[in-house]
Symmetry: C2
Subunit: 136 residues, 2 copies
DNA sequence: CAAGCAGTTTAGAACAATTCTAAAACTGCA
DNA sequence: TGCAGTTTTAGAATTGTTCTAAACTGCTTG
């Protein structure tokens, strides 16, 4: 079962304008066939290498960037040199546990942010990131 | 006038547990004797080098980290490999213009964030960062 | 006010994260 | 199946930051 090709993923990639190559599909499966995940390039690379679909680190970086640009992933920068890719692209925010580098989602349903000033003129809103930093 | 030593800065550094050395005072003057600023290590280093108080890049990094640890500065990470130090340590949030890397403060007076979930158990709140990302 | 020691600075090496390069390997279409 | 354009790859290069070890400086003491 785990060796089978998932046609949905191939379709999803094609719709994003990306050819469903062996490597991209392998990474997409690791990312999207399970619950929401937070990965770094290094962690995903280690995972792929350990599994039966080794993918070079350069390709992991390329693919994560392409997935992000295509809207399949969201990048969250929590600290200098610490960047996560989040498979949850819906509206939500993050807890970041500074003492051990963990990142957790929380839904934005209940959260309301009021009174934000208008974007500087000549710019349009791209996204509002809320990172709640906590420590143990 | 601009060559004079500012005793307040020396005091402020000493209170932070830092010896007021020539280099630290020079950087503190560049940072704190004007309106609130957003600097990077590189930009501050370039500035110091151009002025009459050249300071090595290593010292700029050390000093920024010390100032941040002492609460004199706040670090804002906006993108991978892009970290600003903000001389405004009060409550406020940021606009980040993704297309050109600019960072702007905005006061948090008017902004209310309601409905944030409680921190994960075993952790205590450190800070809530709100970054409003915009593009031209 | 000289001496000495801990704290600081520095250039350069080292390191970590990410991107680039150029060549080999693929993918998809004709 | 052949072929043109994409994609992958290893390794080099780049970028941002920290480390190292030696020289220097600020502060305290005798």
């Amino acid at each position: 079962m785990s060796g089978a090709t998932n046609p949905d993923l191939a379709v999803r990639l094609r719709e994003a304008g990306l050819r469903p190559t062996r490597q991209r599909v392998a990474l997409a499966r690791a990312l999207f066939e399970v619950e929401h995940r937070h990965v770094t390039a290094e962690s995903l690379h280690a995972e792929a290498k350990a599994g039966r679909n080794p993918v070079s680190l350069a390709t992991v970086y390329n693919t994560l960037n392409q997935f992000r640009d295509a809207g399949l992933l969201r990048e969250v920068v929590v600290a200098p040199g610490r960047s996560y890719f989040d498979t949850n692209t819906g509206h939500h925010h993050h807890f970041y546990v500074e003492t051990d580098g963990e990142l957790h989602d929380f839904p934005s349903d209940k959260v309301t942010i009021a009174g934000l000033p208008a974007p500087p003129k000549g710019t349009r809103l791209s996204r509002v990131d809320v990172i709640v930093r906590v420590r143990r």
